[in-house]
Symmetry: C2
Subunit: 323 residues, 2 copies
């Protein structure tokens, strides 16, 4: 397995340019994240920068900055600290995920777990979670939005682990998991951007719903890619979901009562083939496409703008991506 | 090994009564913590309540409520959410500690790790850390104080793990570790209480310094007890520090260049005997007593009150405790 060591950008060709002010704010978010994780305890700084500088898709921070701009905000750099906080919640959660899943590749690099070991990975995740609240401290009314979304994320991860353990990974449970672990933070990312710009309540509501819907679509596509992609292409350890008895495809197995919780490698391969021949992948893509369509419809209330066009692009990129 | 299953209170006989309003507020903190960890994801609720209802010494929340009252606050229940947040930071950190240290007993009960396993212990710790910020969300100016103290706590834990790994657990490193991992949160506990009551700046400063000093003393005594106590008496897995090559006593070993990082059980026993015969324990007690004396001196600027007397009691209890 070759591990790609250079960060990759998540930007399929699109018909619209991202507004320049948003581009600049995105760069500010990157530098802010690297600054905020500075620490005299070098392992925390190094491990944090290792994962942050690897890139990642940065969907959530883009969502916050574009939401801010699309509802009328004039200076997206003002939203950079909050966008950084949103992205750090996600980053902290993947660091802890890689402990629980024994993931050894993340964002095209060896995971923190793989390089520094479990103890330091756990502490680095805690460090990142805590840095979120240093960043959010000045935003009194907005704090609760991100705190609630982070609670939902942890609840979703826990529900997932519980469902795997209890072997009841049904479609209904799956839908609840992706709403909690992914869509809640996407919703918050949109809402926070909208609120920071003092957007009209109907605009903020629209952008929050947009975030929620693309969040669901994002997770469904992620689960499909976990199944169909390989580790090099995805930039993270592939096949984890099926191996762990979870993800979109696992609901098929359980619904068909054919799951083996502790599947061996060859069992995984044969299940994978079965699922790839079946309707699961197509169905997942259809569901993701429906969600993206719905998400874009929420934006109808917003006035036309470059930022609105970029949000629509973002929604399309989520379903069209190959990693 | 018998595991005590009933919560124990940390209240050696003292010469002063805790003010009644503070007693009531302490009860409010307990119920608030149990309420705030409610979740539809039952494992998070159950694991959180398991550790919270086991009691613990509750030094930090008492410090916050007494600080609030001692600087002139009239309704300590107002400080209950912040006191609960401070206590939850500590609780989250011990849940994660028990993963890294393989601790199987905590607060006289099996640890979350021991009952629910590593994955759920990790997620429960994340859940508790996040609930802290739900509780703190309304307190704009105070958020940064607790966030900074939590960052320090994580840095202290990390520095400790790094020092063990690098085998450079010197007295200087030890002092830095206990300042970060314990004294910073004690300082914040005092400062937050003082600020919530809008105490005069010199009162708030005094109570913050008091917290810092008793925090250092608390950790030193804790490390001595880890060495001299047994698991039943302490209510948590004893001997962890020495086994892991850290704590007050380990600075002796390293200074004497006699440490074996991966000590076997019999090596631990012989080291323990050596240390118990040496000066380390006495020296640690003297240091803790000096710190407590200094802490009490900080309180000189505060007007006489029941709450002030209770703070002085608290400081004495910290060095006189046997668990």
């Amino acid at each position: 397995m070759t591990i790609q060591s250079t960060p990759r950008s998540f930007a399929p060709p699109s018909s619209h340019e991202m507004p320049e002010a948003v581009q600049n704010a995105l760069e500010r978010v990157e530098s802010l994240m690297l600054e905020v994780v500075d620490s005299e305890v070098t392992v925390l700084r190094d491990a944090s920068r290792h994962i942050l500088s690897a890139g990642g898709k940065r969907v959530r921070q883009r969502l916050t900055l574009l939401a801010y701009t699309a509802v009328g905000g004039s200076d997206p750099e003002r939203a950079a600290p909050v966008a950084a906080a949103v992205e750090l919640v996600h980053t902290a959660s993947v660091v802890h995920d890689d402990i629980n899943d024994h993931g050894i590749v993340r964002r095209g690099r060896p995971s923190i777990n793989a390089i520094w070991g479990r103890t330091f990975a756990l502490l680095t995740g805690d460090f990142l979670f805590t840095k979120v609240y240093e960043l959010m401290a000045p935003y009194k009314d907005l704090n609760i939005i991100l705190a609630d979304a982070t609670v939902a994320l942890v609840e979703g991860e826990t529900l997932q682990a519980s469902a795997v353990k209890a072997n009841n990974f049904t479609r209904e449970v799956y839908n609840r998991i992706i709403a909690l672990k992914t869509a809640a933070l996407f919703r918050a990312a949109g809402e926070l951007g909208g609120r920071l710009a003092n957007g009209a309540p109907e605009y903020v509501e629209a952008i929050a719903n947009f975030g929620y819907s693309i969040g669901l679509a994002f997770q469904i596509v992620d689960d499909v890619l976990d199944l169909t992609g390989d580790t090099e292409q995805l930039g993270k350890t592939a096949g984890v979901d099926l191996e762990q008895g979870r993800g979109f495809a696992s609901t098929y197995e359980n619904d068909a009562d054919a799951a083996e919780q502790e599947a061996e490698a060859d069992v995984v391969t044969s299940l994978k083939e079965k699922i790839l021949q079946g309707d699961a992948i197509n169905e997942a893509h259809e569901q993701a496409n429906r969600l993206v369509k719905m998400a874009i419809a929420y934006l109808d209330v917003l006035p036309a703008s470059e930022a609105k066009d970029s949000l629509i692009d973002l929604a399309h990129q989520i379903v069209e991506r190959s990693y």
